[in-house]
Symmetry: C2
Subunit: 205 residues, 2 copies
DNA sequence: CGGTGTGAAGCCTTTCACAGCA
DNA sequence: TGCTGTGAAAGGCTTCACACCG
């Protein structure tokens, strides 16, 4: 369920305010969705609310953490150390929630051996070894479009089962591998579309 | 229509191969969607296909460009010049399609006056002036979560009607303003969810 | 009372299937 | 014959509305 991370964030916010209990309505507001939807989503995890009262914040945080698999660390490899790859490597938002960038890989021999923070950039051929030794479970593709499919193939071959693709290209993966994409140019084009048509309400996708 | 950018990209790929005509099936493959969907989407722009033959590539590129508003330049301002903001400022993928980063803004006085590439970082208070003078139409929010809402408010107040939010926070905007969000931590959490549940097929969202 | 849990309705998107035209 | 354009069916997701319980 793609909304769990939203609820998770909302609950953390509530926690910071030392509130012990919350309602679906309050959660809905913080997550920017409908209250009935919150209840339906949460009921999918089990009946953890108290009628007339609401949900116990601490318990729910625990429950969602476990559902999202945030109780353990997930070693991440970034392939393609250009502008974007470097920024992602330095981005603090990842480490905060158990995602640790433990490998940087680039095709360009001139970049191999260089460092970003504490991490050394390694060659594409080292991927299988890196995945094995560092327990990499998630691969981030931050290469140009042309390289994306072949990089994804090599990640899969190395044993990675989750891929986040930033390259502006359609990538195919075998069954059993999860793929998500973030396409910056597409996002801007969608905004441009709405701007041209003077409509309102681009969905926050 | 959120799939137009995909078709656009697919068509550009086809153009590079000097192919003059293409079918919905071929487009579907390149865009990673269903063929019937391609036809339905394109028919929404008008009946530009030839039965028994397919679509004329050059014409369709033209038509979609105009629909997406890519025939003109869109000046962009980036607010928040941390790791991510800097990377976005340097990212070539934007400029390629008419999105020009013409302003960098940061709240931190220590950063104001600094440079990223040719652009000088300016103060938040300069936003209205920047928007007016440089014709900014799109604002990119690359601040920490806590600042996101207030930055968005200031962008809107300055006259910006399209916002792309990278901060991990829910942001509200008035009617008439388009908002899209890109949440890196959420994407990873969704992958983590699928990984924990050993399922396949995370939708490429 | 107040707020959850949930069947049912409603809405929107995707897919099918095929008529119709070059 | 081949591929588009599109009505109709299917499916999925969201919202409503309310029974039920603390």
């Amino acid at each position: 369920m793609a909304r769990l991370p939203l609820y998770y964030r909302a609950l953390l916010e509530i926690t910071e305010r030392d509130v012990e209990t919350t309602s679906s309505e309050r959660l809905a507001e913080l997550a920017g969705v409908n209250a009935a939807q919150v209840r339906k989503d949460l009921s999918y995890l089990g009946s953890y609310g108290t009628r007339g009262v609401g949900y116990e914040v601490a318990f729910l945080v625990e429950r969602i953490s476990s559902e999202l698999g945030l109780t353990q660390d997930w070693p991440v490899a970034i392939v393609g150390v250009g502008n974007l790859g470097q920024a992602l490597a330095n981005y603090r938002g990842f480490g905060a929630r158990g995602f640790r960038v433990l490998a940087l890989v680039d095709e360009d021999p001139a970049k191999v051996g260089g460092k970003v923070g504490d991490l050394e950039i390694q060659a594409l051929d080292d991927l299988p070894e890196l995945v094995r030794e560092r327990g990499i479970t998630i691969g981030i593709v931050a290469t140009p479009a042309a390289a994306a499919q072949s990089v994804a193939d090599r990640l899969v071959a190395a044993g990675v089962r989750s891929i986040l693709n930033f390259a502006p290209a359609v990538v195919a993966v075998p069954d059993g591998v999860s793929l998500r994409k973030v396409d910056l140019a597409t996002e801007l084009q969608i905004l441009s579309f709405y701007q041209s048509h003077l409509r309102s309400k681009a969905k926050a996708g």
